[in-house]
Symmetry: C2
Subunit: 342 residues, 2 copies
Amino acid sequence: MNLKELSQILGISQTTVSRALNGYPEVSEKTRALVNAAATQYNYQPNTKARGLATGKSKMIGYVLPKASQNEMPNPVFGDFIAGAAQTYGKQGYDTTITLTENDKQAETYRNLHAKRSVDGVIMQAPKENDERISILKKLGLPFVVHGRSTGSNDYHFVDVNNTHAFARATNFLLDLGHRRVALINGDENLDFAIRRRHGYLQALEDRGLEIDTGIMFSSEMTEEFGYRTMTKLLTMQSRPTAAVLSSYIMAIGARRALGENGLRIGKDFSIVIHDDALSYLPNGSTHPVFTATRSSVGEAGRLCAEILLDIIQNPEQKPRQIILEAELVVGSSTGPAPKHD
Amino acid sequence: MNLKELSQILGISQTTVSRALNGYPEVSEKTRALVNAAATQYNYQPNTKARGLATGKSKMIGYVLPKASQNEMPNPVFGDFIAGAAQTYGKQGYDTTITLTENDKQAETYRNLHAKRSVDGVIMQAPKENDERISILKKLGLPFVVHGRSTGSNDYHFVDVNNTHAFARATNFLLDLGHRRVALINGDENLDFAIRRRHGYLQALEDRGLEIDTGIMFSSEMTEEFGYRTMTKLLTMQSRPTAAVLSSYIMAIGARRALGENGLRIGKDFSIVIHDDALSYLPNGSTHPVFTATRSSVGEAGRLCAEILLDIIQNPEQKPRQIILEAELVVGSSTGPAPKHD
DNA sequence: AAACACATTCAAAGCGCTTTGGATTTATAT
DNA sequence: ATATAAATCCAAAGCGCTTTGAATGTGTTT
């Protein structure tokens, strides 16, 4: 069913039918009712491509997912992130399109997305320091919101967690409990968020005049496996740490496995604070938290990104909206006072 | 840059430029070279909507994600599933669009997707028994491939794991080790895959003439939390099981946590076999498996779905292609002989 | 009853592409 | 040289919608 057919059935011009359906005022309520009834009856929905061509808008939001060529690891938080956004999009009639691309071809992908006019705006994820994608998107004039931040430029819209503060608090929490050697198990430190987390960690140590030991600072893609291997390594050290801050729940699962295999009790023999993205399938306890954590919902961040993006698509030229979410520190049973002897 | 502008720059008609770019034979190699050079120079990319309108194809594959209204849980395997597919799509110039929808409005969403002509085909996920979506998609004439199966109808394309067989093997593996009370911690048994897994589990027990105890069979959404709670419950039972088969790694993480808290050693005091979707961020061990598992890569399934879908979009009317993947049984350290006394 | 404003409707143009059918040029056969 | 075939190119139509600008109908004012 298309507009022409529908208008013929009704014996009304296409113009009027289109206007009736789109809520324009210059059409009598009587005809509008007639048109609406017919539209529901035949389940008429305007062809998106035709409408897009005519209006110059695509009503599509793009997500470009970098796919590191070596391991093709999709981000485990992506599902939650986009789920938070999708509801907002749906309500305003936008759809979502995702494009996977080689890590080093992201810029090209954005350029093409824009050249093909297939999206009205994009959400950019996992920014690096001085991320070139930002300047490219700005040059293209394609509306975009960054999930995270990129140190280097400053005039763009973003939603980020206060990672520095979160990790400073996490580290301080452990130091307050008497821990003196606290390890860092971080995400890939090419990424801005991980850099900030390390800053927060270092800052807390420095504030107390504690020595920095790069031998107990680790950084990689955040898999269970990496958490396991790193914790295993930590436990074999001469003067081994009594605590660690970890950048993700997934890694903490691996770390816990390593502790278990070594007969160490989490929260007693070894303390852990994690950052918890509040993933739906991985709730950090329902009654009380399993892991002591800095918590910030990635679904919520996704929702905020979506709202800002839709807003700037409709009203461009507004000054950068920059939201920094404070993570809450929730205390679970993965932390305790530093063991007396070690 | 659009076709008109490009053709004016070249001093050639739009027809010829279009044909040159699309590889049609009726254009001299000389002009084709000229056109291609100019296209790259100005980064000309045909407007997707205009092209779609003209060709009647959208070059879009749709994924409809049911969002259970109560908990909004996005599927943790979705990222891997779509990553496997996206490469195939990209190579053939297709893009991916995902639509989140209320669980009970999926049928409507498919109908609308088709009415708006915004996709050339869809991948359907998480089928139930006698899933109404299948008959709707068939009626609409929208090409589709199901990830999983739906008992009830049989004439559609799908890619599924042999869940029955996998869980029969998993259960038998435990029975062979001397376990007599084996629990089942399953996914939501409204879903077809979970029904089949239960069948496999029951079949193995029945084959040995063992009693079925519905008191140690559980089913719910597959979260860490559910795994934890269920295992905790199992451990308080009078005649408690010595082993369990679990439908997901995520749940097993919760189960392991419960075991740890109770001072039980996994693989010694309690044995576990899981189903492992081979998620990229949750590898089941690198050198040797952590959990004994029936393993089948969901990324691979995604890739297969994509290939079939593109094929049937291009050549409709072929007889249903139905792929059943056999899960491999990998032996890890989460299983061992049944404890002597309990 | 004429003149005007306002409400309602419509025909047609245009969005940027593909593709049909025809026109023009060039090569080949008679 | 002429007829025929093949190669190459192009103007214009059409995909299904929105929107402009004009036309028609209705009600109000004088």
